[in-house]
């Protein structure tokens, strides 16, 4: 004990460079000398008894060679075992870790400790450190150590009066593990540091279905008790932490049993009535849930992704280019990519009609709903093929952009890509065309202005088609700059978007159309982008940048005649990122429009996402 430093030198330590192997070996030697390092083996008996839970037993220490290689794989030699041990057992609020040990298993390192207040044991904790393969990264990336590093809070129990300790400890851990390069905390939120606590600390359900069930439970509870809560407010909840802070103004009772567990209904066991805010009471009494919290993404910017599997339910006729596979393929690729671990996944919600009506008259929305409900095969034109769920999915697409605006303007993410369908930029106030029904971007822009008071919005539309709907909606609005770069209307749908269309009335000058000739490729396209679009953004100085991001100008896309590659999308994303950093705190809400070749849509959208994250 004596040779180890009393206080962690955490403040001065950096983990930027791997240590020489000798330092790692010395670190192991110190721990072995102190009798704090052991091997760990899975215990099959416990696995049998407890189902999925993985329990480990202390066993013989693995060979020196194995120790070194396992340590190196997980910690990339950025910290020595002795220092790590010290860092992971800090002293807070007069509580300290004792009888603590480090175990090295085949695929994980385990930290196990008792927590003491003076001589009195007040709790215990077990952490697993392990990594999982980012699927599809390949062997090379695996060998380079490009894995998702996870801290699993396997077990924690604390006496009730020490819950402030948990907050302090986990804030400290979050910084520590972030700096050592761990990506996520995970846990099963069922233990005595409660389900409410973890949600409040920003943990979210690992499984989206579990979150949906949680939300459903809340909805039922509200209904059952007749609480004054709007359906729409529940729809907008996206993460467990939203529930934790939901309706702090509305107190409801929860009933505590002698062991400290809560229920929403009084019964034999749960008799101690206490009043809590709605969200807290609900979570305190909720079923256990598996949670995770992203603590580190190796990307310079925090980028969100709006998606819902419900977007697949809009099903145009067979052979229609705007089909569900566009999105299912994209999402499949994202899940296999390391984007899965570094994007913040958020869900859309069904918007209130008043926000849609800022763009589309109620009469049009009614006609659209009736068109779908009456079982029509198309709405307005032959291009706008519909199915049973088309109306609801179109609403959810507009609500997806609203959720994206929420996330960016609340600072939950810096920028966001809304992978929605059906697309929106051809939809005018009262017209559906070109696969579009509701103008998603326009709804998002007016929502940002109406709810968050965003003044100047720059909408860049790089879909291969002119965004005639968005132009129509904003052509008289001097505060919304609409800029569309697209294939020339003489050759391409929808036949508008000529240079002389510069806006109308007060909005003259805040519309810019840049038609390009068929077969234009990256270089010429980007020259035009630099020469004409960048100066307009610089002059306009927007408070928010939105992108109608269609990827159908790609050379592999069948629908039009431009010859762009991913390079163009990367370049434009990078440059608007710079503009957003300069004028609007990096705020970009990007929205999927077209893109009809599965593989070029996927590769372009992924390149766009990675560039939004600030990766080169």
């Amino acid at each position: 004990m004596a040779q180890r430093k009393e206080n962690p030198l955490f403040g001065k330590m950096t983990f930027a460079h791997p240590l020489p192997q000798q330092k790692i070996e010395e670190g192991f030697a110190i721990l072995i000398g102190e009798n704090r390092l052991f091997g760990a083996e899975l215990n099959p008996d416990i696995i049998k008894k407890e189902g999925e839970k993985r329990k480990f037993l202390v066993s013989r220490l693995p060979s020196r060679k194995k120790l070194i290689s396992r340590w190196s794989r997980l910690f990339r030699d950025l910290v020595s075992p002795a220092d790590f041990f010290e860092l992971v057992s800090p002293k807070f609020q007069e509580l300290e870790h004792r009888e603590n040990i480090l175990l090295v298993g085949k695929d994980r390192v385990i930290y196990d400790t008792q927590i003491f207040h003076g001589s009195e044991p007040v709790g215990e904790m077990t952490l697993f450190f392990h990594s999982v393969m980012n699927r599809n990264l390949g062997l090379l990336a695996y060998l380079r150590g490009e894995r998702l590093r996870i801290v699993y809070i396997d077990h924690i129990r604390l006496l009730e009066q020490t819950s402030g300790y948990a907050s302090a400890l986990f804030r400290y851990y979050e910084k520590l593990f972030h700096d050592i390069g761990f990506h996520q905390f995970r846990l099963s939120a069922s233990l005595s540091v409660g389900k409410y606590y973890w949600a409040k600390e920003g943990f979210d359900c690992s499984d989206r279905d579990a979150f949906r069930r949680m939300k459903e439970g809340l909805r039922e509870f509200v209904k059952e008790r007749g609480l004054p809560v709007e359906e729409i407010d529940i729809n907008r909840l996206q993460r467990a932490c939203d529930i934790a802070s939901f309706r702090r103004d509305l107190k409801v009772p929860a009933y505590r049993n002698p062991e400290g567990y809560y229920a929403l209904d009084e019964d034999e066991e749960h008799r101690d009535r206490q009043m809590f805010p709605l969200g807290k009471a609900f979570l305190l009494s909720s079923k256990p849930w598996d949670g995770y919290k992203i603590i580190y993404t190796n990307t310079p910017k925090k980028t969100g992704l709006i998606y819902s599997p419900e977007y697949l339910n809009h099903r145009p006729r067979t052979g229609h280019p705007e089909n569900r596979r566009r999105l299912s393929k994209l999402l499949e690729a994202i899940r296999k990519d390391d984007l899965q671990g570094s994007l913040v996944f958020l869900e859309p919600y069904l918007p209130e009609m008043r926000f849609l009506e800022m763009v589309h008259p109620a009469g049009y929305l009614d006609a659209f709903r009736n068109g779908v409900r009456s079982g029509g095969k198309t709405f307005a034109t032959v291009d706008c093929s519909i199915s049973e769920a088309s109306y609801d999915v179109a609403l959810l697409a507009a609500g997806g952009v609203m959720a994206g605006v929420d996330a960016v303007l609340n600072g939950r993410v810096e920028n966001i890509f809304c992978a929605v369908r059906p697309p929106g930029h051809h939809a005018g106030r009262e017209s559906a065309m070109g696969f579009c029904f509701l103008n998603n971007v326009a709804v998002g822009a007016l929502y940002a202005r109406g709810v968050y008071g965003v003044q100047k919005i720059f909408i860049l539309d790089w879909d291969v088609h002119h965004g005639n709907g968005t132009q129509e909606i904003f052509e008289e609005d001097p505060l919304t700059f609409f800029c569309s770069i697209h294939e020339h209307p003489t050759f391409c749908f929808p036949g508008t978007g000529r240079r002389m269309e510069r806006g109308k009335g007060e909005g003259y000058g805040t519309t810019l159309n840049l038609p390009v000739k068929p077969h234009t490729a990256d270089r010429e396209f980007l020259d035009l982008f630099e020469r004409e679009i960048i100066p307009e953004i610089e002059t306009f100085r927007p408070d928010l940048i939105m992108v109608s991001a269609g990827f159908d100008a790609h050379r592999d896309d069948p629908i039009a005649d431009l010859e762009l590659t991913e390079r163009s999308f990367v370049h434009m994303t990078q440059r608007i990122g710079e503009m957003a950093d300069r004028y609007c705190q990096g705020r970009i809400v990007s929205v999927l429009e077209g893109g009809y070749n599965g593989s070029s849509l996927t590769s372009s959208a992924i390149a766009h996402l990675k560039t939004l994250q600030g990766r080169s």
């Binding site: 280019p321 032959v382 070109g434 749908f493 929808p494 036949g495 508008t496 000739k517 069948p558």
Partner: protein, 212 residues
């Protein structure tokens, strides 16, 4: 396609007694190039911005004391009296051919000797833009080459009809020993239409292959 439907009715006019300067100001103010000259409700002539320009190039007339008299010149002195006119029931094609053949910019439209309107090159262009639906949302131009046999045109329209593609305009013109059909169709999915037409045996030229 009658002139009466496309002309500007009740155009701005001058009288032969008006000064050239006043005529010039009217042209400038209304951003137009032609002024019918009307006397007692009857067309007496036409004065154009070219006439006024030419006047300034002539040696200016002087009075007995040698002072320049430009101010005082009257429209009646410089106007064209022998005017080519149209009737409202003449066709746009007539007007087009005269405007093109005689290199005029505009033609007064009369009923008897009474002026009722004026038709200009700009009106004819507007008629073509409307007819071909060049402006406005939702149409894409495609070009199809057809043998000079009406059954092919019928099949073209049938093929598009089967695909439920809206034809917004169709122009058929001779092209070598074939027909070139210029269509504007109401769909975003042009690539698919072209593919289907090619599969059905039609010649669909690549972009910019044809007629520039």
């Amino acid at each position: 396609m009658y002139v009466g439907r496309r002309m500007t009715a009740n155009p701005i006019t001058v009288s032969p007694e008006d000064t050239v300067v006043r005529a010039g100001h009217l042209l400038k103010k209304h951003r137009i190039h032609h002024l019918p000259v009307v006397q007692r409700e009857e067309l007496a002539g036409i004065v154009t911005d070219t006439d006024i320009r030419n006047t300034t190039l002539e040696e200016p007339p002087v009075d007995s004391r040698g002072e320049v008299l430009v101010q005082a010149r009257k429209v009646g002195e410089i106007m064209t009296r022998d005017v080519v006119t149209m009737n409202p029931w003449d066709t746009i094609e007539d007007a087009l051919l005269i405007l093109h053949g005689r290199r005029f910019g505009a033609l007064p439209v009369v009923e008897g000797r009474k002026l009722v309107g004026i038709i200009t090159k700009a009106d004819i262009l507007a008629a073509f833009i409307d007819t071909l639906r060049i402006e406005g949302v939702g149409g894409v131009r495609i070009e199809v080459i057809l043998p000079r046999d009406p059954s092919f045109l019928l099949r073209l329209i049938q093929t598009l009809g089967d695909m439920k593609i809206e034809i917004r305009s169709l122009v058929l013109s001779p092209f070598r020993d074939e027909f070139a059909a210029f269509l504007r169709i109401g769909t975003i999915n042009v690539a698919n239409v072209k593919t289907r037409l090619r599969e059905a045996g039609f010649k669909v030229p690549e972009l910019a292959d044809f007629l520039g």
